[in-house]
């Protein structure tokens, strides 16, 4: 097997505040292979977007990467100087953010923004760059790209703008795309179009995609593997089918039960009691144990992410070597 495109090892992100250091991402590890879509799900504050920002080197102070490493094709990128990181960003790692209106500059025509990015990262002439921009817009499904290229962002609808942002991310033919909630601001019908587009790009160009979203439906349709995050840690990671139909971690089970479906009847939804802990008060041991119906003595100690069937799960219920505490209880 070839080296994964992206490999994150034991990543830890901290924020220095007056009340001490807050650990926002704690010991997160995962790989993404070429042509693979890794979905990262979790609720607000779970650390999904921070993990994405760390990969592209956009963690702003007071946040900082306090430990672990990030490898792009086996090369460490988390400790690169800003000038070298800037060359990488956009060239080898593309980005798509949630709000397509704020990720485009409203004062420039979209063609200028595309050409600027292409010229920064390739050796094309301006005329060639413009041809390439037109081709990219056609590829992401914008009708009449030759004339639309001279429009401003406000002349596009939300879905079309997100296509432009995708074209922008594809300019330098990156190996990895970080898509942070790319469909959250869009209506379902447009969302379906953007998902189809992401899947096609992944299949045709062999791009690795890290898809960050809170929408399990989007993950179910797009991702090959899913990482479920809770309070800055990965609770469970595994193939999408297994996570959705046979979730192992009690948090994943609760999350799946809480999602209203189109097939269900007009009945009560399952609910997880309580709410996600604040960063100032992450519980000892397994971060989920105060809300967990299956918690037992061992949960006072933090479980490692260990293989369980085709997935990996951080839960003592699925580990063989339960700490000695259990015997006494």
């Amino acid at each position: 097997m070839t080296a994964p495109v992206l490999s994150v090892r034991d990543l830890r992100i901290e924020f220095a505040t007056r009340r001490g250091r807050l650990v926002a991402v704690d010991g997160v590890s995962f790989d993404i292979a070429a042509g693979e879509v890794l979905g990262v799900v979790g609720e607000s504050g779970a650390g999904k977007s921070l993990t994405g920002s760390a990969v592209i080197g956009l963690i702003e102070p007071p946040g900082r990467i306090a430990g672990g490493e990030i490898l792009l094709r086996g090369e460490r990128i988390d400790n690169l100087p800003p000038s070298r990181m800037r060359l990488l960003r956009g060239k080898r790692i593309g980005m798509v953010f949630q709000d397509p209106l704020t990720s485009l500059n409203p004062l420039y025509r979209i063609g200028d923004q595309l050409v600027e990015t292409i010229l920064t990262h390739t050796r094309l002439t301006p005329a060639e760059a413009r041809d390439k921009a037109v081709a990219l817009l056609a590829e992401v499904g914008i009708p009449a790209p030759e004339s639309r290229i001279d429009n401003y962002p406000h002349q596009f609808s939300g879905g079309m703008r997100q296509r432009v942002v995708l074209a922008l991310a594809l300019c330098a033919e990156p190996e990895l795309i970080i898509a942070d909630e790319p469909t959250t601001a869009l209506d379902v019908s447009v969302q379906a179009q953007i998902i189809a587009l992401l899947k096609r790009l992944c299949a045709q160009h062999g791009v690795a995609i890290m898809l960050i979203t809170h929408d399990m439906g989007v993950i179910a349709e797009t991702a090959h593997r899913v990482a479920v995050m809770y309070a800055g840690r990965i609770a469970e990671i595994g193939p999408v089918r297994d996570i959705i139909s046979r979730p192992l971690h009690p948090y994943t089970q609760g999350l799946m039960g809480a999602i209203p479906t189109l097939t269900g009847d007009r009945a009560r939804l399952e609910q997880i009691p309580g709410s996600m802990p604040r960063l100032t008060a992450i519980p000892q041991g397994c971060a989920f144990h105060p809300r967990c119906a299956h918690a037992f003595a061992a949960c006072q100690q933090r479980p490692e992410l260990l293989p369980a069937g085709p997935s990996q799960v951080a839960c003592w219920l699925h580990h063989n070597a339960v700490p000695a505490l259990e015997a006494s209880s």
């Binding site: 209506d187 379902v188 379906a192 809170h214 959705i244 209203p260």
Partner: protein, 332 residues
């Protein structure tokens, strides 16, 4: 009017003027620009039922919600609650007694609570405004009871909204809506700003409160799965018009209007049996210049000449209504 009908909207329309200022229009020789946000909407909501309106952004759902509670006046048409018009001048006196029977829950709990007020004051405001409590002690007792009802601690009454999470804030908004003992609550995307596990808590709470107090909901959402869990009957909106009204079960089992079918096909499938998700063609057109005839015809796979020229009326079949020529002619 049937005694079971609590709220009735009758050919409700709302037009927004988005033209440039007069001088610019004269100099640039531009006509007025009007957005028809809601056009001739009629529906009835029965007592103790949840009626849902679904549709994409810009379909006019929230405008309907604001008109139903009387926050904005309609350009034409009327809303009646228990036979009393919300807008007719002659019903002014009766309307006063009506106000506390209608409440609203808004989408964004970060914006709908005054950040400078304590939670207790926020919840007590309707009690004071409508004079529903005898004295300060009665108000305090009621606030405590309401906080407990929505799953918060009575001690939370002295805190400020910023001390709460999104889900807790939405609980406060629900407590405020309930404080005036309403019969009818308009919920405009009450869970769109919340995470799924919190959404489940809030939806369950709303269902329990409905059973406990016999509430009637107008539930507005863009999320079909949420609507499926909450609603008895559903109205589907497209560009300011209702295209289909049907009991929830029928709508999901056998959608009739092509737009409803398209919306259902576009929802991501969680069970992911491999049902192909149809890539939907096109986007919602500009409401300033909506297409003639049936406004959905440019995106409709079943459109034919009649759809381009003639606007379809609602035709009924069983318990459901659909505005589509193809459905009326039995072609689909």
């Amino acid at each position: 009017m049937s005694p079971d009908v609590l709220v009735k909207a009758d050919r409700l329309s709302r037009v927004f003027d988005v033209s440039k200022p007069w001088l610019n229009r004269v100099i640039e020789r531009e006509p007025r620009k009007l957005v028809i946000a809601v056009a001739g909407l009629s529906f009835a909501i029965m007592r103790r039922e949840t009626f849902a309106l679904v549709g994409e952004s810009g379909s006019g759902k929230s405008t309907v919600a604001k008109m139903v509670v009387g926050l904005i006046p309609p350009t034409a048409g009327d809303v009646q609650l228990d036979g009393v018009s919300m807008f007719a001048r002659e019903d002014e006196g009766k309307r006063r007694q009506l106000r506390h029977r209608i409440q609203m829950i808004f989408q964004d709990p970060y914006a709908s609570l005054n950040p400078r007020w304590r939670v207790g004051d926020i919840i007590a405001e309707p009690l004071r405004a409508f004079g529903l409590a005898a004295d300060a002690a009665a108000i305090e007792a009621r606030v405590c009871a309401l906080l407990r009802l929505v799953g918060l601690d009575p001690a939370d009454a002295v805190k400020y909204p910023h001390e709460f999470s999104g889900g807790q804030r939405q609980r406060i908004a629900i407590a405020r809506a309930l404080s005036a003992n309403p019969e009818f609550i308009v919920c405009d995307e009450p869970t769109s700003a919340l995470d799924v596990s919190v959404q489940a808590q809030i939806l369950n709470l709303m269902r329990d409160l409905q059973d406990q107090f016999g509430l009637t909901y107008l539930f507005i959402s863009h999320n079909l799965a949420v609507v499926r869990h909450m609603a008895n009957r559903i109205g589907v909106m497209y560009l300011g018009r209702l295209v289909e009204i049907a009991p929830a079960r029928d709508l999901f089992a056998a959608p009739r209007h092509p737009y409803t079918r398209m919306l259902l096909d576009a929802v991501p499938d969680l069970t992911a049996s491999g049902r192909p998700r149809k890539a939907v063609e096109g986007e919602v057109p500009n409401p300033i210049a909506p297409p003639p005839g049936c406004t959905f015809h440019p995106r409709c796979p079943y459109a034919f000449d009649r759809c381009r020229g003639e606007r379809p009326d609602m035709t009924s079949a069983g318990a459901s209504l659909a505005a589509c020529h193809a459905v009326a002619e039995g072609r689909i």
